[in-house]
Protein backbone atom coordinates (compact mmCIF):
# COMPACT_ATOMS: atom_id res chain seq x y z
CA UNK A 1 0.00 0.00 0.00
CA UNK A 2 1.31 3.47 -0.84
CA UNK A 3 2.26 5.76 2.02
CA UNK A 4 4.61 5.63 4.97
CA UNK A 5 3.48 4.44 8.38
CA UNK A 6 4.28 6.59 11.40
CA UNK A 7 3.08 6.84 14.98
CA UNK A 8 4.21 8.74 18.07
CA UNK A 9 6.46 5.89 19.22
CA UNK A 10 8.54 6.41 16.08
CA UNK A 11 9.28 10.05 16.87
CA UNK A 12 12.00 11.19 19.28
CA UNK A 13 12.23 14.91 20.05
CA UNK A 14 15.20 16.81 21.45
CA UNK A 15 17.22 13.65 21.50
CA UNK A 16 20.72 13.57 22.91
CA UNK A 17 22.96 11.09 21.12
CA UNK A 18 26.65 10.28 20.94
CA UNK A 19 27.05 10.13 17.20
CA UNK A 20 25.53 9.23 13.86
CA UNK A 21 25.35 5.50 14.46
CA UNK A 22 23.75 6.05 17.85
CA UNK A 23 20.78 7.94 16.40
CA UNK A 24 20.39 5.48 13.52
CA UNK A 25 20.37 2.51 15.89
CA UNK A 26 17.89 4.16 18.27
CA UNK A 27 15.43 4.92 15.51
CA UNK A 28 15.87 1.48 13.96
CA UNK A 29 15.19 -0.22 17.31
CA UNK A 30 11.87 1.63 17.54
CA UNK A 31 10.92 0.20 14.16
CA UNK A 32 12.15 -3.24 15.24
CA UNK A 33 9.97 -3.12 18.36
CA UNK A 34 6.95 -2.58 16.09
CA UNK A 35 7.96 -5.41 13.79
CA UNK A 36 8.29 -2.97 10.87
CA UNK A 37 11.78 -4.31 10.20
CA UNK A 38 13.78 -7.46 10.87
CA UNK A 39 17.05 -7.63 12.83
CA UNK A 40 19.14 -7.40 9.65
CA UNK A 41 17.79 -3.92 8.95
CA UNK A 42 20.07 -2.33 11.56
CA UNK A 43 23.47 -3.51 10.23
CA UNK A 44 22.22 -2.90 6.67
CA UNK A 45 21.26 0.70 7.26
CA UNK A 46 24.48 1.41 9.21
CA UNK A 47 26.63 -0.04 6.45
CA UNK A 48 24.70 1.87 3.84
CA UNK A 49 25.25 5.15 5.70
CA UNK A 50 28.97 4.46 5.86
CA UNK A 51 29.25 3.70 2.14
CA UNK A 52 26.73 6.23 0.89
CA UNK A 53 26.14 9.03 3.39
CA UNK A 54 22.71 10.67 3.42
CA UNK A 55 23.29 14.13 4.92
CA UNK A 56 21.57 16.92 2.98
CA UNK A 57 22.76 20.49 3.05
CA UNK A 58 19.23 21.86 3.23
CA UNK A 59 18.28 25.09 5.03
CA UNK A 60 18.30 23.06 8.22
CA UNK A 61 20.69 20.14 7.60
CA UNK A 62 18.91 16.79 7.71
CA UNK A 63 19.92 13.18 7.12
CA UNK A 64 17.77 10.52 5.51
CA UNK A 65 19.13 7.03 6.22
CA UNK A 66 16.97 4.61 4.29
CA UNK A 67 17.05 1.11 2.92
CA UNK A 68 14.76 -1.60 1.67
CA UNK A 69 16.59 -4.74 2.82
CA UNK A 70 15.13 -6.02 6.06
CA UNK A 71 12.08 -3.75 5.94
CA UNK A 72 8.67 -5.43 6.29
CA UNK A 73 6.40 -2.41 6.01
CA UNK A 74 7.21 1.07 4.67
CA UNK A 75 7.59 3.53 7.52
CA UNK A 76 9.05 6.83 8.58
CA UNK A 77 10.73 7.56 11.89
CA UNK A 78 12.07 10.93 13.01
CA UNK A 79 14.52 12.27 15.56
CA UNK A 80 15.12 15.94 16.25
CA UNK A 81 18.53 16.37 17.83
CA UNK A 82 19.38 18.52 20.81
CA UNK A 83 22.79 19.30 19.32
CA UNK A 84 23.98 18.79 15.74
CA UNK A 85 25.39 15.37 14.86
CA UNK A 86 27.88 14.89 12.01
CA UNK A 87 26.71 13.02 8.92
CA UNK A 88 28.53 12.74 5.60
CA UNK A 89 27.02 14.75 2.76
CA UNK A 90 25.12 12.83 0.11
CA UNK A 91 26.36 15.02 -2.72
CA UNK A 92 29.77 13.41 -2.83
CA UNK A 93 31.57 16.52 -1.63
CA UNK A 94 33.12 14.57 1.27
CA UNK A 95 31.85 17.31 3.59
CA UNK A 96 30.37 16.57 6.96
CA UNK A 97 27.17 18.30 7.98
CA UNK A 98 25.93 19.11 11.47
CA UNK A 99 22.52 17.47 11.15
CA UNK A 100 19.54 18.62 13.26
CA UNK A 101 16.82 16.23 12.11
CA UNK A 102 17.12 12.58 11.11
CA UNK A 103 14.39 11.01 8.99
CA UNK A 104 14.94 7.27 8.94
CA UNK A 105 12.93 5.37 6.36
CA UNK A 106 12.21 1.83 5.47
CA UNK A 107 10.78 1.48 2.00
CA UNK A 108 9.57 -1.85 0.69
CA UNK A 109 8.40 -0.75 -2.74
CA UNK A 110 9.88 2.54 -3.99
CA UNK A 111 7.71 2.59 -7.13
CA UNK A 112 4.60 2.93 -4.96
CA UNK A 113 6.21 5.63 -2.84
CA UNK A 114 7.13 8.11 -5.55
CA UNK A 115 4.54 10.66 -4.46
CA UNK A 116 5.51 10.65 -0.79
CA UNK A 117 9.20 10.80 -1.66
CA UNK A 118 8.60 13.78 -3.94
CA UNK A 119 6.65 15.58 -1.24
CA UNK A 120 9.41 14.87 1.19
CA UNK A 121 11.94 16.47 -1.08
CA UNK A 122 9.78 19.60 -1.12
CA UNK A 123 9.72 19.65 2.68
CA UNK A 124 13.53 19.53 2.76
CA UNK A 125 13.54 22.76 0.78
CA UNK A 126 11.25 24.57 3.23
CA UNK A 127 13.54 25.98 5.84
CA UNK A 128 10.68 27.29 7.99
CA UNK A 129 8.96 23.89 8.22
CA UNK A 130 12.18 22.26 9.34
CA UNK A 131 12.83 25.02 11.86
CA UNK A 132 9.34 24.56 13.26
CA UNK A 133 9.98 20.88 13.59
CA UNK A 134 13.15 21.44 15.63
CA UNK A 135 11.23 23.73 17.97
CA UNK A 136 8.61 21.12 18.86
CA UNK A 137 8.90 19.17 22.08
CA UNK A 138 5.96 16.82 21.68
CA UNK A 139 6.03 13.84 19.26
CA UNK A 140 2.30 14.17 18.55
CA UNK A 141 2.78 17.76 17.46
CA UNK A 142 5.64 16.69 15.22
CA UNK A 143 3.37 14.13 13.59
CA UNK A 144 0.64 16.74 13.09
CA UNK A 145 3.16 19.01 11.39
CA UNK A 146 4.40 16.18 9.16
CA UNK A 147 0.82 15.31 8.33
CA UNK A 148 0.11 18.85 7.11
CA UNK A 149 3.28 18.70 5.01
CA UNK A 150 2.89 15.22 3.59
CA UNK A 151 -0.89 14.78 3.59
CA UNK A 152 -2.39 11.39 2.89
CA UNK A 153 1.06 10.02 2.01
CA UNK A 154 1.66 9.65 5.73
CA UNK A 155 -0.33 6.88 7.39
CA UNK A 156 -0.65 7.72 11.05
CA UNK A 157 -1.24 4.97 13.57
Amino acid sequence: MPGLYIDKDLVLVNLEVQDRDDVIVRLSRLALAKDLVSEEFIPNVLRRELEFPTGLDTGVPVAIPHIGEGCRKSFLSVATLKSPVLFGAMDGSEHELGVRIVFLFGITNPQEQVEVLKRFVRVFQERCSLERMIGLDDPEEAIRLLKTLLGECLITG
Binding site: R48, E51, T58, D91, V114
Partner: protein, 104 residues
Protein backbone atom coordinates in the same frame (compact mmCIF):
# COMPACT_ATOMS: atom_id res chain seq x y z
CA UNK B 1 15.95 8.64 -31.76
CA UNK B 2 15.56 7.24 -28.27
CA UNK B 3 18.01 8.43 -25.64
CA UNK B 4 18.93 5.70 -23.17
CA UNK B 5 19.40 7.00 -19.65
CA UNK B 6 20.58 5.31 -16.50
CA UNK B 7 19.94 6.79 -13.05
CA UNK B 8 22.16 5.48 -10.27
CA UNK B 9 22.43 5.99 -6.52
CA UNK B 10 23.92 4.09 -3.60
CA UNK B 11 21.05 1.90 -2.53
CA UNK B 12 18.81 2.59 -5.48
CA UNK B 13 15.76 3.69 -3.53
CA UNK B 14 15.10 7.20 -2.45
CA UNK B 15 17.13 9.48 -4.67
CA UNK B 16 16.84 7.26 -7.74
CA UNK B 17 13.08 7.18 -7.41
CA UNK B 18 12.73 10.93 -7.05
CA UNK B 19 15.32 11.88 -9.69
CA UNK B 20 13.93 9.36 -12.21
CA UNK B 21 10.53 10.93 -11.78
CA UNK B 22 11.89 14.46 -12.28
CA UNK B 23 13.83 13.44 -15.39
CA UNK B 24 10.71 11.87 -16.88
CA UNK B 25 8.80 15.12 -16.33
CA UNK B 26 11.57 17.17 -17.96
CA UNK B 27 11.84 14.91 -21.01
CA UNK B 28 8.10 14.46 -21.52
CA UNK B 29 7.73 18.22 -21.52
CA UNK B 30 10.44 18.51 -24.17
CA UNK B 31 8.90 15.62 -26.16
CA UNK B 32 12.18 13.72 -26.17
CA UNK B 33 12.00 9.95 -26.59
CA UNK B 34 13.89 8.10 -23.90
CA UNK B 35 14.24 4.98 -21.84
CA UNK B 36 15.31 5.17 -18.22
CA UNK B 37 16.81 2.38 -16.13
CA UNK B 38 17.84 2.34 -12.45
CA UNK B 39 21.27 1.09 -11.44
CA UNK B 40 23.61 1.06 -8.48
CA UNK B 41 26.53 3.47 -8.32
CA UNK B 42 28.91 0.53 -8.13
CA UNK B 43 27.69 -0.60 -11.57
CA UNK B 44 28.27 2.61 -13.50
CA UNK B 45 31.98 2.16 -14.23
CA UNK B 46 31.30 -0.74 -16.56
CA UNK B 47 27.88 0.08 -17.95
CA UNK B 48 27.24 -0.38 -21.66
CA UNK B 49 24.14 0.19 -23.74
CA UNK B 50 23.37 3.63 -22.32
CA UNK B 51 23.83 7.16 -23.67
CA UNK B 52 23.90 9.14 -20.46
CA UNK B 53 24.26 8.33 -16.77
CA UNK B 54 22.83 10.51 -14.00
CA UNK B 55 24.25 9.79 -10.56
CA UNK B 56 22.58 10.93 -7.35
CA UNK B 57 25.15 10.54 -4.70
CA UNK B 58 28.77 10.21 -3.99
CA UNK B 59 30.92 9.26 -6.94
CA UNK B 60 34.05 10.23 -8.79
CA UNK B 61 33.69 7.24 -11.06
CA UNK B 62 33.99 7.55 -14.80
CA UNK B 63 32.46 5.15 -17.23
CA UNK B 64 34.93 2.85 -18.98
CA UNK B 65 32.94 3.08 -22.22
CA UNK B 66 32.97 6.90 -22.28
CA UNK B 67 29.32 7.32 -21.43
CA UNK B 68 28.99 10.80 -19.87
CA UNK B 69 28.16 10.95 -16.16
CA UNK B 70 26.18 13.86 -14.68
CA UNK B 71 25.72 14.49 -10.96
CA UNK B 72 21.96 14.79 -10.52
CA UNK B 73 21.74 15.89 -6.88
CA UNK B 74 20.20 19.26 -7.82
CA UNK B 75 17.07 17.47 -9.02
CA UNK B 76 16.80 15.94 -5.58
CA UNK B 77 17.58 18.87 -3.30
CA UNK B 78 16.22 21.56 -5.63
CA UNK B 79 19.40 23.57 -5.09
CA UNK B 80 20.70 24.43 -8.58
CA UNK B 81 17.92 22.47 -10.27
CA UNK B 82 17.43 24.99 -13.09
CA UNK B 83 21.09 25.03 -14.03
CA UNK B 84 21.21 21.27 -13.91
CA UNK B 85 18.11 20.95 -16.10
CA UNK B 86 19.67 23.22 -18.74
CA UNK B 87 22.94 21.30 -18.70
CA UNK B 88 21.08 18.00 -18.80
CA UNK B 89 18.91 19.01 -21.76
CA UNK B 90 21.94 20.28 -23.67
CA UNK B 91 23.58 16.92 -23.16
CA UNK B 92 20.45 14.97 -24.16
CA UNK B 93 20.01 17.06 -27.33
CA UNK B 94 23.65 16.58 -28.25
CA UNK B 95 23.21 12.81 -27.88
CA UNK B 96 20.04 12.89 -29.99
CA UNK B 97 21.87 14.80 -32.69
CA UNK B 98 24.81 12.40 -32.60
CA UNK B 99 22.56 9.39 -32.95
CA UNK B 100 20.67 10.99 -35.81
CA UNK B 101 23.93 11.60 -37.63
CA UNK B 102 25.13 8.07 -36.96
CA UNK B 103 21.92 6.48 -38.30
CA UNK B 104 20.39 8.90 -40.76
Amino acid sequence: MTVRLVVACGGGIFTTTVVTDRIKEILWKEKIRFTITPAKITEIANLRDADLIVVTGKTTTRNANNIPVLIGMPLFTGVGAEEFTEQFLREVRRIEEEKKNANP
